[in-house]
């Protein structure tokens, strides 16, 4: 009798804990959207030019900065991640070197993003004399995202059935030809799917970029060496400096827009992932 009462109480507690997490999420989403949704979807806001000290500014250059930054970051990190993933999945033998690479990847994945930010500041902005620019932010984020991108790429490559590799080698293909002609094409949809989620993370990242890309701009950045102000960083800047009188509205709108973008990317990634699993991973049809 006593056991069963404890059991019931525990069940109630666990349900409560599970529901708290959902409630928390719902609460944040509702609050952020309730305050900022109307501003976020106002063309004057998301297509408008920012103001430095006056009210009524928009955030268009910030959106472009975020997109530009995400594109550059993926452009830099994806080839390296694919190359590294091929090494880890196809060539690496168990041993010290392999272990050490994994250790470094784990370390990169655990370091606080502000540390990456300061590193980017020291290396790209100061040492290379690039000053605050998109490219400095992109390289910083490329390193920050390398572990995630590499892991998901490696998983996509490992999902390619070994028997494809054997069949290719048995037709007289070398290892590299096999990788290039069979493994990569087979894994490609998976690799592409797995790059979507990091894009969301790049767009949401702020600590690593405020001192690498810059914080405020009025015009759209054109060159990778232009100073930029990705949305997430600008939201922080706008509320912390509070130079414009309507900063609350700008931050509300910006936060809502950022949330919408990041969630849209999340759902896109999920959708693409499901589709990919349904079509590609079935492999050879078996009886």
């Amino acid at each position: 009798m006593k056991g069963s009462r404890a059991d019931k109480a525990a069940t109630v507690v666990f349900w409560a804990l599970g529901l708290v997490t959902i409630a928390l999420l719902a609460f944040i989403i509702i609050e952020i959207l309730a305050r900022g949704f109307l501003t976020a979807i106002n063309p004057k806001f998301f297509l408008g030019k920012p103001e430095a000290i006056k009210a009524g500014g928009g955030i268009f250059p910030m959106i472009i900065s975020s997109l530009y930054l995400a594109a550059l970051t993926i452009l830099i990190s994806l080839p390296i991640a694919i190359g590294a993933a091929i090494y880890m999945a196809e060539y690496a033998k168990k041993g010290r070197l392999n272990n050490f690479i994994r250790f470094c990847l784990d370390s990169l994945a655990t370091l606080p993003s502000i540390v990456f930010g300061l590193f980017g500041l020291a290396l790209f902005v100061i040492y290379f004399r690039w000053s605050y620019c998109l490219l400095a932010g992109a390289f910083t984020l490329a390193i920050l995202n390398l572990p995630i991108l590499l892991r998901s790429t490696e998983e996509a490559i490992k999902l390619v059935p070994n028997t494809y590799r054997e069949a290719s080698m048995c037709l007289g293909a070398s290892r590299w030809t096999t990788i290039r002609q069979v493994v990569i094409p087979t894994a490609l949809p998976g690799i592409m799917t797995s790059t979507i989620l990091p894009i969301g993370r790049i767009m949401g990242e702020s600590a690593a970029i405020v001192y690498t890309t810059g914080l405020f701009i009025r015009n759209i950045p054109i060159s990778p060496f232009d100073t930029a102000a990705p949305l997430a960083g600008y939201i922080w800047y706008a509320q912390s400096e509070a130079l414009v009188p309507d900063y609350r509205q700008i931050v509300n709108g910006g936060a809502a827009l950022l949330l919408i973008i990041v969630f849209a990317i999340y759902f896109l990634a999920r959708w693409a992932g499901n589709r990919y699993q349904q079509t590609k991973l079935l492999g050879p049809k078996m009886k």
């Binding site: 069949a167 290719s168 048995c170 037709l171 050879p284």
Partner: protein
């Protein structure tokens, strides 16, 4: 069977194989006659699949594998230093246990091998694809859907596609590693018929756990056995398939083919 002197396409001499410290196969010696089918039979785990993968050095791809002894292909030991393994695998093709067409079109599956040696000419490729699919008895079923994925075919068709893919690189020997274990009896029949036809041009080795299949398709049979757990697989008996199935010389062979163990 026409009476002609048998030449040996491959000769396996005192072949042993180790996975790091574990000896998987010990001192196997037998011949693979040209344009005949040689079957490797034995209970599962006896090392027959491992053995067949030594013939085109597919085991090289596994970490920690070491081979002793010789596999002679046309009087050349394929394990000699500096032997071109990529060339070897073109000469000794392989069909796997589970059909494994690439996730590419039927056409691209068959054209894959020829393209590897630099054949780019569209007409030549078209010819090779058609010819190979015909030889694999698949052409009439797929000629209208060459651009569709090879993975949309049925299991038996997929396996014949894999055979066509091997034929397209013009190998001298084709190794079959339990090619019918994952497909239905009707499709199995088709593949067995196909093998009988391919005998004209190719030397074949088939690994099978199905003794009836060995008896039906092969000319020569090698019987392998692991006598006690932890011991390496050994060749117990090798000979003409008819003799082996009607009058085996080793008592263990007899017990196996009459289904009394394994």
């Amino acid at each position: 069977m026409p009476e002609e002197a048998l030449e040996n396409k491959m000769v396996i001499k005192d072949l042993s194989m180790y996975y790091t410290d574990f000896k998987a196969i010990e001192d196997v010696t037998f011949d693979v006659p040209a344009r005949r089918i040689t079957a490797l039979i034995g209970p599962s785990g006896c090392g027959k699949s491992t053995l067949v993968r030594c013939l085109n050095r597919m085991n090289d791809l596994i970490e920690g594998v070491r081979v002793e002894g010789e596999v002679v292909l046309d009087s050349e030991n394929v394990y000699q230093q500096g032997f071109d393994t990529i060339g070897l695998r073109r000469r000794v093709g392989m069909v796997f246990q589970r059909p494994n067409p690439f996730p590419k079109s039927i056409y691209e599956n068959v054209a894959y091998g020829p393209k590897l040696v630099g054949i780019k000419d569209k007409e030549e490729l078209d010819f090779i694809v058609e010819d190979s699919l015909k030889k694999a008895a698949l052409w009439h079923e797929v000629k209208t859907i060459l651009r569709e994925s090879g993975q949309n075919l049925s299991g038996g068709q997929q396996q014949r596609l894999c055979i066509a893919r091997v034929i397209a690189v013009q190998p001298e020997v084709i190794l079959f590693d339990e090619p019918c274990s994952a497909i239905d009896p009707v499709a199995t029949q088709l593949i067995e018929d196909l093998m009988a036809e391919l005998k004209e041009n190719f030397t074949m080795v088939i690994v099978t756990h199905n003794m009836q299949q060995a008896a039906r398709v092969s000319d020569f049979t090698a019987f392998m056995l692991v006598q006690e757990q932890g011991q390496p697989g050994r060749l117990i008996e090798y000979g003409d398939t008819n003799t082996m199935f009607t009058n085996p010389s080793d008592e263990r062979t007899e017990r196996y083919i009459t289904g009394r163990f394994g």
